[in-house]
């Protein structure tokens, strides 16, 4: 895929807080690829980001999002009485040398949004983008969420780059989504159509039953896919709510009279928890390697294999070698092999192991011989106990501090604590349900048979064929197995087994190609990302280790790291996008909303490095205080400035009698001197 696209403009008409403004890229310098849009808190930057995510992917807007988009601006101050135009949001996108405008038009009640495209050849009331653009973005909400990046929630646990996001993004960009579609839809539909046309072999009753089962199977798959999508959306929203509750708890501590004590204890507790976390991981990993057991426990195993070697066991000659001697008809000594020799060799062959098993045993002997202690389990155990005790003491101290607060504050914290618990329980339940619907590891599916499959798996472990049993299944993978078997049955009834087998063979080939291509691209992306990540001067030499189960990073010691700081996560996403862009010949814009929001001052350098190291178009949505956190980045050398403020607003954010409409300034003077209050306002 080759796609080179850039956002050249954005238009807000009577939405959020904006009346009618049109932003254009590169107003200060044509050479600089980074744009900064500065506006006060609460104007609609994050809503714009969400709109962009949906618009590029051609996704419908949820009621919640439509509610966010609704124009409030000057209506709330009664400066104007009604909306003076058609609400609209659109983006100008330059692809190659031509420009498309893609946007949503809203009705005046903001209950619906209709997508439109102004393409170079004409206007459409639909999503009619350039073919390569559509291939990359349409229905690829996972990619747009990655490209249009909200730092809220960044650094939590790296969940932004989960398996689904990475796999779906890569499949689409590697042009293999089409194979996936052929496997899942086109081939089964084609065979079904042929089945309907052909002369049947089986009885009418048999056919009717199988068709009913198939109908139920398909409807159950559809229902489960819907449930899965809903559960994934709910999970995202509950996680956001949980982040917010945690922020509120911290806020309640910060606003109390014990602010300093809370701050100190929280900081120490964070460090203590991280220590416990790190040592727990280290100990668990150490316990996975039996060579780390004490010498009294492991030495006998080493002695045993050493004795096997001394006794030259196994003595067997690999059966493949003996077979080849028989085939040649000549012994290694040069003598021909006849009846007696042949009989002896065959006897030996029957007792002999295969080459592969022999080598298994030899590898085992070598590994045991070379095995060494890499971690002292006993020491790690003692360390963990000490760290755990220290952490528990701090937990108690924090609880005591909370206990000393006033009644009202305690009540607030108590309610927040309950909310946190409730959300954590809900998240856990949603995660369980998502796993139940989407798990494709047969061992796990079988072990959860009672709840996940019920009677859709027979006692013998086969697929059920009764519609009511099929309807009990709650796992999509197992339903697909049922569907495959029903397909075969129906094809056999219709007398088109050969066609059905051919379809199955092609499906297998396509799947194998997908797996191979995906693995190849993943390797290339990992190699490229590592090069990019090196530029970011990561403190712990973090690098991308694997993409096979979502994005996994390891530190310099090879320890898998899941949680990232905002700066780290930005650097990783930038590196991943840069690598993906190179491998798939793609140049796409990235937008980051509040790049430094909530970032620890020690991490700002990392964020700045991340921003400076990104070579594609970069648009940053910031509020005024963020400009001050990265003073050596927001300057003429790095970014094109833009400030959104009201017509009669002063530089300190105070308004004149009439506030006036929003306007756009591209000059550095306004950008540098605009200091509105930090609290949310319009």
């Amino acid at each position: 895929m080759a796609l080179n696209c850039k956002i050249t403009g954005m238009n807000w008409k009577w939405i959020i807080n904006f009346e009618d403004i049109h932003w254009k890229a590169n107003q200060s310098s044509k050479k600089i690829h980074a744009e900064t849009i500065l506006a006060r808190n609460g104007t609609g930057k994050t809503t714009t980001l969400l709109l962009l995510q949906h618009l590029f992917a051609n996704e419908e807007l949820s009621e919640d999002l439509l509610e966010r988009v609704k124009y409030r601006g000057l209506l709330s101050t009664k400066e104007i009485k009604k909306i003076d135009g058609v609400p609209e949001f659109s983006v100008d996108i330059k692809i190659g040398t031509k420009t498309w405008t893609l946007g949503y038009k809203f009705d005046n009640k903001f209950s619906t949004a209709t997508i439109f495209t102004q393409a170079p050849e004409g206007y459409y009331d639909s999503y009619e983008m350039h073919a390569e653009f559509s291939t990359a973005f349409e229905n690829n909400h996972e990619l747009t969420k990655l490209l249009f990046f909200d730092t809220q929630g960044a650094g939590s646990d790296g969940r932004r780059m989960n398996k689904k996001t990475i796999d779906e993004t890569m499949k689409i960009l590697a042009n293999i989504k089409v194979l996936d579609h052929a496997r899942e839809t086109y081939i089964p539909d084609f065979i079904e159509a042929e089945r309907k046309k052909s002369d049947k072999k089986g009885s009418e009753t048999e056919k009717k039953l199988a068709e009913q089962a198939m109908k139920r199977c398909k409807s159950t798959i559809k229902q489960l896919n819907e449930k899965l999508k809903k559960a994934e959306e709910d999970l995202g929203s509950k996680r956001e709510q949980l982040d917010k509750v945690k922020e509120n708890i911290k806020g309640a501590h910060d606003n109390s009279k014990f602010r300093d004590a809370f701050k100190e204890t929280e900081l120490l507790l964070l460090k203590a928890r991280n220590k416990v976390k790190g040592t727990t991981k280290e100990l668990l990993n150490a316990l996975m390697d039996p060579a780390n057991l004490s010498s009294k426990l492991w030495r006998p195993v080493q002695d045993y294999y050493q004795q096997l070697s001394k006794s030259r066991i196994p003595t067997a000659i690999a059966s493949e070698y003996l077979s080849s001697v028989l085939y040649e008809g000549e012994c290694i000594c040069g003598n021909e092999i006849h009846g007696k020799e042949e009989k002896n060799i065959k006897e030996r062959m029957n007792k002999s192991m295969g080459l592969a098993i022999l080598s298994e045993v030899y590898i085992m002997k070598d590994k045991v011989k070379d095995s060494k202690v890499t971690s002292d389990i006993s020491l790690l155990g003692s360390r963990l106990e000490t760290e755990r005790t220290a952490r528990d003491k701090l937990e108690t101290k924090l609880a005591r501090l909370e206990g000393q607060l006033g009644k009202k504050e305690r009540k607030t914290l108590d309610e927040l604590g309950k909310s946190q618990q409730r959300l954590e329980d809900l998240i856990s339940e949603l995660e369980d349900n998502i796993e139940m619907y989407s798990c494709n590891a047969m061992g796990k599916i079988r072990s959860n048979k009672k709840v996940w499959l019920e009677r859709s798996m027979t006692i013998g472990g086969d697929t059920a064929s009764k519609p009511e049993y099929i309807g009990e299944c709650k796992n999509i993978y197992w339903l697909k197995q049922i569907k495959n078997n029903l397909d075969k049955k129906l094809s056999s009834i219709a007398g088109i087994e050969d066609l059905s087998n051919a379809g199955e063979a092609i499906t297998d080939v396509f799947e194998a190609v997908e797996i191979e291509v995906l693995a190849h691209i993943q390797n290339q992306v990992i190699t490229e990302s590592t090069k990019h990540l090196a530029k970011y001067n990561m403190q712990n030499e973090l690098r991308i280790h694997s993409l096979s189960n979502g994005l996994a990073c390891v530190d310099a010691n090879g320890n898998v790291q899941k949680g990232f700081s905002t700066g780290e996560e930005l650097a990783i996403v930038f590196s991943f996008i840069s690598a993906l862009s190179k491998v798939t010949e793609l140049s796409v814009p990235m937008i980051v909303d509040n790049p430094t929001k909530g970032a620890d001052p020690s991490k700002l350098r990392g964020i700045q490095d991340s921003l400076q190291g990104f070579n594609h178009q970069l648009i940053l949505f910031i509020y005024a205080t963020e400009r001050n956190t990265l003073p050596s980045y927001f300057n003429k050398k790095n970014v094109n400035p833009c400030t959104l403020m009201r017509e009669n607003e002063k530089m300190d954010g105070t308004d004149g009698k009439k506030r006036g409409r929003y306007k756009i300034n591209y000059d550095w003077k306004t950008f540098d001197n605009y200091h509105p209050p930090t609290k949310e306002g319009v």
Binding site: S319, K351, I357, E360
Partner: protein, 180 residues
């Protein structure tokens, strides 16, 4: 003399497919810890399965009784290969298991003579394979037995009631220490 397992010609070289199996109680233990937001995660069930099997393999030197493994019907299958962290250490894990297995079949360290090679090789051949977990079903079942033994020991000492990984690991290491 060794209790030789009869290996038919047909089954001798055939690769087999099976699952490691783990009892419901142990699986629930893993699920509870993985669900606990205040605890570090164990990860896939097989990580904990190995901790149990390792304990069982160690404890076997003091008490050579073997519990019944989980039954082979549907419902207790776990996974058909080494995954998670066990994947990186699977060769040593198999080596530990095969050491116990051969020793238990009367081929202790003092019985490892060249004359016994043929019998030992037959046992090895019936135990190992080259795909999946690299253990034949018989080998997988042996590991299931030791995992069950380890889990029974954890239950005896009440470690099955712990719901966070750090507390469990501290107690587990202490328990290992009693065998040193």
């Amino acid at each position: 003399m060794a209790k030789k397992k009869a290996v038919t010609e047909e089954g001798k070289n055939a690769e087999q497919s099976g699952y490691f199996r783990f009892c419901d109680g142990a699986k629930s233990f893993v699920a509870n810890i993985n669900k606990n937001p205040g605890s570090e995660k164990i990860g896939p069930e097989i990580n904990f399965y190995w901790l149990c099997a390792q304990l069982g393999l160690i404890a076997y030197s003091d008490d050579d009784t073997k519990p019944k493994p989980p039954s082979t019907g549907t419902g207790n299958e776990m996974i058909d290969e080494f995954a998670g962290e066990t994947r990186h250490h699977q060769i040593l894990i198999r080596a530990f298991l095969m050491y116990r297995y051969l020793s238990g079949m009367n081929f202790g360290i003092d019985e490892l003579e060249e004359d016994s090679a043929e019998d030992i090789e037959i046992l090895m051949d019936g135990f190992l394979q080259t795909t999946g977990s690299h253990l034949k079903n018989h080998g997988m079942k042996e590991l299931d037995i030791f995992a069950q033994k380890g889990w029974d020991l954890l239950e005896d000492r009440g470690l099955n009631h712990i719901n966070d990984l750090e507390t469990f690991l501290v107690s587990y290491v202490e328990l290992l220490g009693t065998y040193c």
